[in-house]
């Protein structure tokens, strides 16, 4: 889902927190379904990137129940934030008390992967050090 390796996801030390957070907001049943279908897509699409992408799109992202949750899981990893689920979703599944837009914790902010993706650091955290900004940026080509 994120484009980061499992090791990199573990490296944020946020996995446990997010794994507990999502069902606490949307309920075990939907979260369980999301995981099961994700697992299914992953097994079927293993080693075939375009197939996996197709399966995830069809089975999860285009699913009106699971799509919004999956996007929010990606937002957790990328931004450390939970966004209130869309109104259409809430109309069907009711209002969950915890389903509000919020930053999970100071750690979730500092571990947000978007900054890694764009080769920098979250503002006010993981400071890069004096003068680093004057150097040519790392680009995706250098990094891989």
């Amino acid at each position: 889902m994120t484009g980061f390796s499992e090791a990199e996801l573990h490296g944020t030390a946020m996995a446990k927190t997010y794994f507990a957070l999502v069902p606490s907001i949307v309920g075990e049943a939907l979260f369980g379904r999301l995981l099961a279908i994700w697992h299914d897509s992953w097994i079927r699409g293993k080693g075939d990137e375009p197939l996996l992408e197709q399966l995830v799109t069809d089975q999860i992202l285009d699913d009106p129940d699971l799509g919004p949750i999956a996007r929010n899981v990606a937002s957790l990893w990328y931004l450390g934030m939970w966004f209130q689920l869309p109104a259409e979703w809430r109309n069907v599944h009711g209002a969950w008390a915890n389903d509000v837009t919020f930053v999970v914790s100071p750690q979730s902010y500092t571990e947000a992967l978007v900054w890694k993706a764009i080769h920098t650091h979250p503002p006010a955290a993981k400071q890069p050090g004096y003068g680093s900004w004057a150097l040519p940026p790392v680009t995706t080509e250098d990094a891989s």
Binding site: S5, E6, A7, E8, H10, G11, T12, A13, P106, Q107, T110, H121, K126, Q127, P128, G129, Y130, G131, S132, L135
Partner: protein, 353 residues
């Protein structure tokens, strides 16, 4: 010096001390540089294994020691440059293979890459152990680092006592000296230039006193250098072990009896000891992250090497690399090792040009 261990009798002329030629002094100073550096990866592992916001006092104490070890590296480089010997840092042989003995020590204990914990702190106490009262200088197979520096001090004194000795010894270029606050900052004190016996002895005093204490006290005696007196390293680690701060009435031989210092030994990433890249050859995701760490580390050593060899401003580039190293280490420490024992991966500090 009032006495030296090599002086056996007042009737026979004193034997020269073990370090008695410029070449020998250079060799031992290079070893000192390696010793200073060899303590840093273990300290960093303990420090980085503490999650942000946990064990705040303990991590502040460890960090302050690391900063001073870095200062010591700079001071030893100044000593080497003062006598016109290029400090060697970027060299595979410069990095110990952990677990390792301190270079040229008496091999009574091994130094390991461990997460924060009692084992790590016990080792740190051994590293920073003050020399017993009256302990002799030791130029090799040393028991304490202080005794090794005592031998280096003797070497400086002996060579300078020879006719024209000081002038002949201190022939290094002043431009290679790293001093003041232009390039070096962030704690641990300010480095100063070495260009004479007096400044050389001051540098050695600063190094040993920050480690083991000034004149057999708890403190580093830094107020003599216009800085605030701090506990010497040994006693800072002892505070963590004891879970208690020292107070003014405490002595080096006793335990700290001041305020409680709350340590949560479980608030750490349980990094598996002495990680090696080779262990993760079959796990490419982890292997890659470890390699990236080692490349950053090696780059850092390269920056230090350049800074110590005529381009002090390169130290500015070392700071971003230090930070980068930290973030990479913390990432590694959060990744399960897959050993099934609850441990995590960690930084291996291996040479990777």
């Amino acid at each position: 010096m009032k006495t030296t261990s090599s002086r056996t009798s007042s009737l026979t002329p004193p034997l020269p001390p073990p370090i008695n030629t410029p070449d020998s002094l250079k060799e031992h100073l290079q070893t000192a540089l390696m010793i200073e550096h060899s303590t840093i990866p273990p300290y960093l592992c303990a420090l980085y294994s503490i999650p942000n916001g946990e064990n705040v006092t303990a991590s502040t104490l460890i960090r302050s020691v690391v900063m001073e070890e870095m200062l010591h590296m700079v001071l030893v480089a100044n000593l080497l440059n003062a006598i016109n010997c290029p400090p060697k840092v970027k060299d595979p042989k410069f990095i110990p293979t952990y677990p390792a003995y301190l270079p040229h020590s008496d091999k009574k204990f091994v130094v390991q890459l461990l997460p924060f914990g009692t084992d790590a702190i016990e080792t740190f106490l051994k590293i920073e152990m003050p020399a017993p009262l009256g302990a002799p200088p030791q130029s090799g197979d040393f028991r304490t680092i202080a005794q090794f520096y005592a031998a280096i001090r003797q070497g400086f004194e002996y060579l300078c006592a020879q006719p024209g000795g000081e002038k002949k010894l201190f022939v290094g270029s002043a431009s290679k000296q790293i001093d003041g606050s232009s390039w070096y900052y962030g704690g641990g004190g300010a480095p100063f230039a070495v260009d004479s016996l007096k400044t050389a002895l001051e540098a050695i005093a600063e190094i040993t006193e920050q480690g083991e204490g000034y004149d057999h006290t708890l403190y580093d005696g830094d107020n003599r250098f216009g800085q605030v007196d701090e506990l010497a390293h040994f006693f800072r680690f002892n505070e963590i072990r004891a879970g208690r701060r020292y107070q003014a009435t405490d002595t080096p031989n006793g335990y700290p009896t001041g305020a409680a210092l709350v340590v949560d030994w479980s608030a750490r990433f349980p990094m598996a000891p002495n990680p090696k890249v080779s262990e993760y050859a079959d796990r490419p995701e982890i292997h890659q992250l470890m390699m990236e760490f080692n490349r950053t580390y090696t780059k850092l050593l390269g920056s230090l090497d350049t800074a110590f060899n005529g381009t002090p401003s390169e130290l500015l580039k070392a700071v971003p690399l230090m930070y980068d190293l930290k973030y990479r280490a913390q990432t590694l420490m959060a990744i399960p090792s897959g050993r099934g024992d609850g441990t995590t991966v960690g930084p291996s500090f291996e040479y990777a040009p």
